[in-house]
Symmetry: C2
Subunit: 188 residues, 2 copies
C-alpha cells in the first residue's frame, strides 16, 4: 500500500491547479484531490467510483479539476462540442432537451451523478443541456485525462472503463424500456 493523503495528492497531482480552464466563467476550485474528504462522504452516490478503494479514488481525483457554478448556470450546452464528463459533488442539475415544441426537462441529476459521458466517449455534440438548479460544485474528467489514467495506471483505468460501461448500459436499458410502449405500438 502506498501512503496517501490530501497533501500527497496536491503535491503530485497530474492536473495543475491552473489546469485546462474549461469553465473560465465559474469559480475554479482546484484539483479534485483537494476535495477528497468531501468526495469520500458522498462516494456511495457516485456510480463511477463504485467498489473503488479510497486509494484508487485518490489516484483518480488527481486527474480531475473542480469548479463551482451558481444557480441557473449552464454546465453543458446542447449542440456544443465537448470531450469531458462531470461528476456532481453538490447541488442539483436539470437536463434539458430542445424539441420542435420547445425545451423539455428529460432528467434530474443529483449529487454523485455523472453527466456528459456520451460526448466524452464519442466526441460528438452534446445531446442535451445541463442547468444547475442550485449552486453546484462539480468535478471534470476529460477524455485526455481518461487516456492518461489508462496509460499511467492500467489496472485502475480498466476498472474505470468497466464502471463507465456499466453507467452507459444502465442508461441504455432505461432508454430501451422507455421505448417499449412505442415498440409495442401502444402509443403510435
Amino acid at each position: 500500500m502506498i501512503a496517501m493523503n490530501s497533501a500527497v495528492f496536491a503535491e503530485s497531482g497530474r492536473v495543475s491547479p491552473e489546469g485546462p480552464k474549461l469553465y473560465p466563467e465559474f469559480e475554479h476550485l482546484g484539483p479534485a484531490s483537494d476535495f477528497i474528504e468531501e468526495i469520500f462522504q458522498i462516494i456511495e452516490h457516485i456510480p463511477l467510483f463504485e467498489d473503488m478503494s479510497r486509494q484508487e479514488v485518490g489516484y483518480l481525483c488527481r486527474y480531475m479539476l473542480c469548479y463551482g457554478a451558481p444557480r441557473n448556470a449552464t454546465l453543458l450546452r446542447e449542440g456544443d462540442e465537448g470531450q469531458h464528463l462531470l461528476i456532481v459533488l453538490t447541488g442539483n442539475i436539470d437536463v434539458i432537451k430542445d424539441t420542435p415544441k420547445g425545451s423539455r426537462s428529460i432528467a434530474v441529476a443529483g449529487v454523485g451523478s455523472s453527466l456528459g459521458e456520451m460526448s466524452m466517449i464519442d466526441g460528438a455534440r452534446r445531446f442535451a443541456s445541463c442547468i444547475a438548479t442550485e449552486p453546484t460544485d462539480f468535478a471534470v474528467l476529460t477524455r485526455t485525462a481518461l487516456t492518461e489514467i489508462v496509460i499511467d495506471h492500467p489496472g485502475l483505468g480498466s476498472k474505470l472503463l468497466l464502471l463507465l460501461l456499466q453507467v452507459m448500459t444502465r442508461r441504455l436499458r432505461d432508454a430501451s424500456n422507455l421505448l417499449l410502449p412505442y415498440i409495442a405500438g401502444d402509443a403510435v
Copy 2:
C-alpha cells in the same frame, strides 16, 4: 512484433477447443483464432475491432470461441441470464422483443455486428431475442474472457473496453433519438 499465425493461436490459445459450451446444440467451430483470415476479411464491418492491428485482433481471437447455427436458431433468448456477447461472422440476425401485443422485430444485425453487450456488461437478463434468419457463424466473448484479456494484455484490454464504450454510446444515441418525438410530445 511477435510472429503470429493460426498454428500459434491454436497452440497457445486461451480458450480450449473443448472450452465453455455455451451452445451445445450448435456446431462448435473451435477458437476464433482458427478463423483469423475470415475475420480479417470482414474486419472493416466489426466496430469492436476498429483501428486494431492484425496482431491485436489475433490476440483477442484467442479468447473467443466460434459456433455455427442453422437458420431460425435462437442465439440469445429474451429473459435468459447470460454474460457473453456475440460477433456475427456470417449470416443475418433478427432482434425480437416480446411486447403485450406480441413479438416485434426491433433491429436487424448483419456481418460484423455485436449483440448481447448489455448482459455481458451488467449481468442482467437479456432484453431481446436474437434469431438467425440465415445459417450463421458467430464468435462469443464472455465476461470472463474480457476480464482475462484485461489482466493478460492491459493495453489491448483498455482499447477493447473503449471500443465497447463507443458501441454502447452509439446505441444510446440511437435510442435517445428514437425517443425524441415522445419527449417533444408529438406522439403522446
